[in-house]
């Protein structure tokens, strides 16, 4: 093993080895032992700090949220300023509608691109697309909000559910594409060849063999991207805009949970703060649920093509 390592061309500098050996000469045994021990404590402390943050956030979410969630909150509209009570029923429904719109825009584009990338293209064009998608994944969400605003809000002169759904849908595309491509690629080529050998055209093989056998993975990608955009607030600020009442059409401003949480959190009223926590608990519940579904599908998919023992 080690002689192998020494034989192969050095792809890391030789000075690292020297540094390693000389470092041990300069220190006493005790020093080296202590540094090693210190490192263990420091590193586990880092991990502990991360967990502390997580548990602190979850603790506050659950304790504050549970104490303020009730049936009224789920079924009533927000009350006017100054009155206590009321709820976020319209925001909960609004978030679901926005997610539905996002899916109708994001899924077809993401799916088709993912399948195209894995089944057809391995050329320069595909590389450009992959790169574009990676870059797109890192663009701040608020930029998509501005884009949806200039394309869909300005011409129609009204904030609308549709523009919000569009912003979220565009944000879903890169993630769906990448996961779809990955899972479709994992379908063994023997399956494809079996289909082709029976005389089926390639498109039929893709639709009838490749997609069904990677369906779990495709659903996972959709779910994960859905979970990510479900909590997005920034792209909705000036597209969906928020609404105190029920919306009557998709071309009108619509309420959304993250928007409502934001508005209530920065308000000066204690009752609204309480409701912001309750809304946050519902939102995080929704997101975790979607993630759980994704985890179920991914485990099913991974079982499918894993090497049999």
């Amino acid at each position: 093993m080690i002689s192998d390592a020494l034989k192969q061309p050095m792809i890391w500098d030789e000075h690292i080895v020297k540094e390693c050996i000389f470092a041990s000469f300069k220190k006493t045994r005790l020093q080296r032992f202590l540094i090693d021990q210190f490192a263990i404590y420091f590193l586990s402390l880092c991990a502990l700090a991360v967990l502390c943050f997580l548990f602190n956030i979850l603790f506050h979410l659950i304790s504050q949220g549970c104490s303020s969630i009730n049936w009224d909150f789920m079924t009533h509209l927000p009350k006017p300023v100054g009155e206590t009570g009321g709820g976020m029923a319209n925001a909960i429904v609004g978030t679901l509608i926005l997610l539905g719109l996002a899916v109708t825009i994001g899924v077809p584009v993401g799916l088709a691109t993912g399948i195209y990338l894995s089944e057809y293209a391995n050329d320069r064009f595909a590389q450009i697309i992959r790169f574009t998608i990676d870059v797109m994944n890192g663009i701040p969400s608020i930029v998509f909000g501005i884009f949806a605003y200039t394309v869909f809000v300005l011409p129609f002169k009204s904030f609308s559910a549709f523009s919000g759904g569009m912003a979220l849908g565009i944000m879903m595309i890169p993630m769906i594409t990448r996961t779809t491509e990955g899972f479709v690629r994992m379908v063994p080529s023997a399956l494809r060849e079996a289909g082709l050998a029976l005389g089926a055209p390639k498109w039929k093989v893709i639709l009838d063999i490749v997609i069904p056998s990677s369906l779990g993975g495709i659903v996972t990608g959709i779910m994960v991207s859905l979970a990510r955009v479900a909590g997005e607030t920034a792209p909705l600020l000036f597209t969906a805009f928020g609404n105190k009442f029920w919306h009557s059409s998709l071309m009108e401003p619509i309420a959304a949970l993250p928007l409502q949480i934001f508005a209530y959190a920065i308000s000066p009223f204690a009752d609204w703060h309480r409701q912001a926590w309750a809304g946050a608990l519902i939102l995080i519940g929704l997101i975790f649920m979607i993630n759980l579904v994704a985890a179920y599908f991914v485990s099913r998919q991974n079982k499918l093509f894993s090497p049999k023992k």
């Binding site: 943050f53 602190n56 890192g138 594409t177 920034a234 995080i284």
Partner: protein, 311 residues
């Protein structure tokens, strides 16, 4: 035979529309943002990026305070998140038992799944009071001679924003670094142990050197996230157009000024200036991402040649 070919070609033609649509969207975003901010670009020119007035009443706009705020809050976030993130990744990949690693990794994923508005909510009601009553008085007392820890203590401000950003980007740093560290071929570690290295010496020399470009890539990706992060920062940075050396003072970032003022921008030039800020954000994030991808690609290319040599 012939009919089959045409159906295949047709299917491919239909399918190829969608990747083109993605290119179209990206081009469209750039074009739309540029056209919409033309008014402001023409009026202020390059000076827009270097002036510090932001006056909607007299319609004089400069983005310097926002650029400053974005840079400073992101740097604070990186300063806190890099040691914690890389440390956790090393712990998970090299020290922790497999079960612990699995559980902690999924918990870290959980941290990444929390939406930014909820971080903001937590920031307002938990972090800011803590900063105001405990952390900032402490820093002011012992490090007050530095200009960074000077001045009145509001709780909201650059430092709080940096702290919340650091919590939000830690999961990215952890997951990328962990992947990179796990990808280090074990023969190198074994070689280090063979010359008598302790565990930490093996980790610090072999793994950190080998994985440096990949970890750097992950950190730059995280920086991109921090620059574009909007809601949590908007909720606790204080939203004040100033440039102050003190980290206790409220500030403003590129993303949060858009979030706060976009919907109420009354005049065309005001809106156009805000969209130009969006354009700056767009271009910066593209550059940051390209840099990060190149770094990560360089590592995977190196690794594949390494594997080839090994097999």
């Amino acid at each position: 035979m012939k009919r089959k070919d045409t159906s295949d070609i047709l299917f491919r033609r239909v399918l190829v529309i969608f990747p083109c649509l993605i290119l179209l969207i990206m081009g469209g975003i750039f074009l739309k943002l540029t056209v919409s901010s033309l008014l402001s670009i023409k009026k202020f020119g390059m000076v827009f990026l270097f002036t510090r007035t932001w006056d909607p009443v007299f319609e004089n706009f400069g983005a310097l305070p926002f650029i400053y705020g974005t840079l400073v809050s992101s740097l604070i976030a990186l300063l806190i998140a890099i040691p914690i993130g890389v440390g956790t990744a090393i712990y998970l990949a090299e020290y922790a038992a497999q079960g612990v690693c699995k559980i902690v990794s999924s918990l870290v994923d959980l941290l990444a799944a929390i939406p930014s508005v909820i971080y903001g909510l937590w920031g307002i009601f938990v972090l800011v009071p803590l900063m105001r009553s405990q952390v900032q008085p402490f820093l002011g007392k012992y490090l007050g001679f530095l200009p960074f820890f000077h001045g009145p203590n509001y709780g909201v401000g650059m430092l709080s924003a940096g702290v919340i950003l650091s919590i939000m980007i830690v999961p990215f740093i952890i997951s990328v670094s962990r992947e990179v560290i796990l990808a280090v071929p074990s023969v190198y570690k074994e070689a280090a142990y063979a010359v008598g290295a302790t565990r930490w010496e093996a980790v610090s020399t072999v793994i950190l050197n080998y994985g440096k470009p990949g970890i750097m890539g992950g950190i730059i990706l995280a920086l991109g996230r921090a620059i574009g992060e909007t809601m949590a920062v908007t909720m606790i940075i204080g939203n004040n157009v100033t440039i102050s050396a003190s980290l206790f003072s409220p500030g403003y970032t590129l993303a949060s000024v858009i979030a706060n003022e976009f919907a109420e921008a009354a005049s065309n030039i005001y809106l156009s200036a805000l969209i130009e800020i969006g354009l700056v954000l767009f271009l910066v994030s593209i550059m940051v991402n390209i840099l990060a991808r190149l770094l990560i690609w360089s590592v995977s290319a190196k690794q594949s040649t390494g594997m080839k040599a090994y097999s």
